[in-house]
């Protein structure tokens, strides 16, 4: 099957700091890829470059064979409309009620169709396990876990084909984290979405992933099916999966 997303030779530096140094990555349609890697390894930057929020220094990103790097105007808007993203901190618009947040992509920020949009928001809230009354609250009135679920609802409300999740379970208790994992899995399995998830929560990675890739020192140093995670034979992956302080990753940081 042709790749939905094919990233090749992607590099990005912020001043003297080289964040990505030639990332190659392929995701098939309907596949759930989880990217693991230490804090500050450039995972979020990678997603933002694919979305066109940050310009890469070099490299190519193909979406169904169409080059995204350098895309502008309407063509870029059309490509972006196929993506949905859950941001690390939720990034909910605090001036708008929850239901306007959830339907923001559908109305493109416009008012109107209030009743239909409100009803739709309530339906999507139910999908992420939240009651209808949440729809009329402001984001600031919600707990962190609820904000995350509302942000997830906002990311999936417009039914995008490709979903990005940036640390979807960080800051949640294990039970809530597991409901989020199940929701993400459902988007991929039931709705056929293609997903890329960034995490350093290994329990989450095992639940969500079809395939796992590890980003280290600006490169993908290992990738394979989730079943191969424990027998990768890669010392970096081994250290990360088992959360050991000693190993090649620690050496890389201190050295």
């Amino acid at each position: 099957m042709a790749d939905r997303i094919a990233v090749s030779g992607l590099t990005k530096a912020f001043g003297p700091k080289h964040v990505l140094e030639g990332v190659d990555l392929r995701v098939a349609p309907g596949e759930s890829l989880v990217i693991i890697g230490g804090s500050g390894s450039g995972k979020s930057v990678l997603l933002k470059i694919i979305l066109g929020l940050i310009k890469p220094d070099a490299g190519s990103i193909l979406l169904d064979g169409q080059e995204l790097v350098g895309l502008k105007g309407r063509a870029q808007e059309a490509a972006r409309a196929r993506f949905g993203m859950l941001f690390q901190g939720g990034a909910l618009f605090d001036s708008l009620p929850v239901w306007r947040n959830i339907t923001f992509a559908l109305t493109k920020g416009k008012l109107g169709e209030g009743k239909a949009m409100h009803a739709l928001a309530v339906r999507v809230l139910a999908q992420v396990g939240l009651e209808a009354r949440v729809a009329d609250l402001k984001p600031a009135e919600l707990s962190g876990g609820m904000q995350k679920r509302v942000a997830l609802a906002r990311a999936i409300a417009a039914k995008p084909e490709i979903l990005f999740f940036d640390e979807p379970t960080t800051g949640l208790d294990p039970i809530r984290a597991d409901t989020i994992n199940a929701l993400i899995r459902e988007q991929v399995t039931a709705l056929g979405a293609t997903a890329i998830t960034i995490t350093h929560d290994m329990a989450s990675a095992r639940k969500i992933a079809d395939r796992v890739a590890m980003l280290q020192d600006g490169k993908i140093i290992w990738e394979g099916p989730v079943s191969a995670l424990d027998s990768s034979g890669n010392p970096y992956v081994d250290q990360f999966v088992h959360g050991r302080a000693e190993g090649p990753v620690a050496t890389a940081i201190t050295g």
Binding site: E77, R80, G89, A91, K108, G109, K110, A158
Partner: protein, 263 residues
């Protein structure tokens, strides 16, 4: 060559400062062009525009009105005291109205609104930047330039002339109240002198200044907020920079317009 070094150091610093200023002016100009281009093409957000018009226009009325009232009254008192030295007390109504309408009305209203609005815009947009709300908006098929920046700049350019008009009227009334109440001026004579000395050119230049100030104060707020980085400290920096830039730009453009119009 330590002697040369001490001589060169201030020059180097001066040069670096000048280059830095030029870079900021250039970036601001590019930002302004991009903002105008986005504001001129759809999609437009009328609800956001009305919201900003209310925030900028309506809620600035008390502070602008009070400033104009106190300044107009103080001005009349000073002109009276100063005029006494060469028996020119009778110039109070004429000088007051010209000073208020040509200079103090637009400048003071501009500065007061910049203090209120540029800072708020910078803080709000910078917080949205820090919390990734601006990035999120792009992924939700909406252009933050059109949704956030265009309504602010249009509303500010539209509402400042209204506020300055109010400031002019209240400023003149402040002078009138003090002159008739404390200095013994005849009320009817004061008003007729005021009318006689006020020319269309004064009012037009006042409103043109107002629109320009409205534009630059929103521009400064949006620019510093939109480009901010570095967490909570960045938000604070953006807010300060926005107010300082807005003040400098308002005073600079005031001088330019004054020289162009009253040559």
């Amino acid at each position: 060559m330590p002697a040369v070094d001490t001589l060169l150091k201030p020059l180097i610093a001066l040069g670096a400062f000048a280059l830095g200023m030029l870079a900021v002016v250039g970036r601001l100009a590019i930002f302004a062009v991009q903002a105008i281009r986005r504001a001129a093409t759809p999609p437009w957000y009328p609800a956001r525009l009305l919201e900003q018009m209310a925030l900028i226009g309506w809620f600035s009325l008390p502070v602008v009105g009070l400033t104009a009232l106190f300044t107009g009254a103080a001005l009349a008192q000073q002109i009276y005291v100063g005029g006494q030295r060469f028996s020119a007390e009778s110039t109070v109504p004429a000088v007051t109205v010209i000073a208020i309408v040509r200079e103090l009305g637009p400048v003071l209203a501009g500065l007061m609104v910049a203090g209120r609005v540029s800072s708020a815009m910078a803080a709000e947009l910078a917080t949205m930047r820090v919390t990734e709300q601006l990035d999120a908006m792009v992924t939700l098929r909406t252009d933050p330039w059109r949704y956030l920046i265009a309504p602010r700049i249009i509303a500010s350019s539209m509402m400042l002339p209204f506020l300055v008009l109010v400031a002019n009227v209240i400023g003149v009334l402040g002078g009138y109240a003090l002159a008739t109440g404390r200095l013994g001026f005849n009320a009817a004579a004061y008003l007729s002198t005021t009318r006689r000395y006020l020319e269309t050119e004064d009012i037009v230049s006042s409103l043109v200044k107002a629109a320009v100030f409205g534009f630059v104060l929103a521009l400064a707020g949006c620019y510093h907020g939109f480009r901010s980085s570095g967490g909570a400290a960045g938000v604070g920096r953006a807010t300060t920079d926005a107010v300082v830039s807005a003040f400098v730009l308002i005073l600079l453009f005031n001088l330019i317009i004054t020289i162009l119009v009253f040559n």
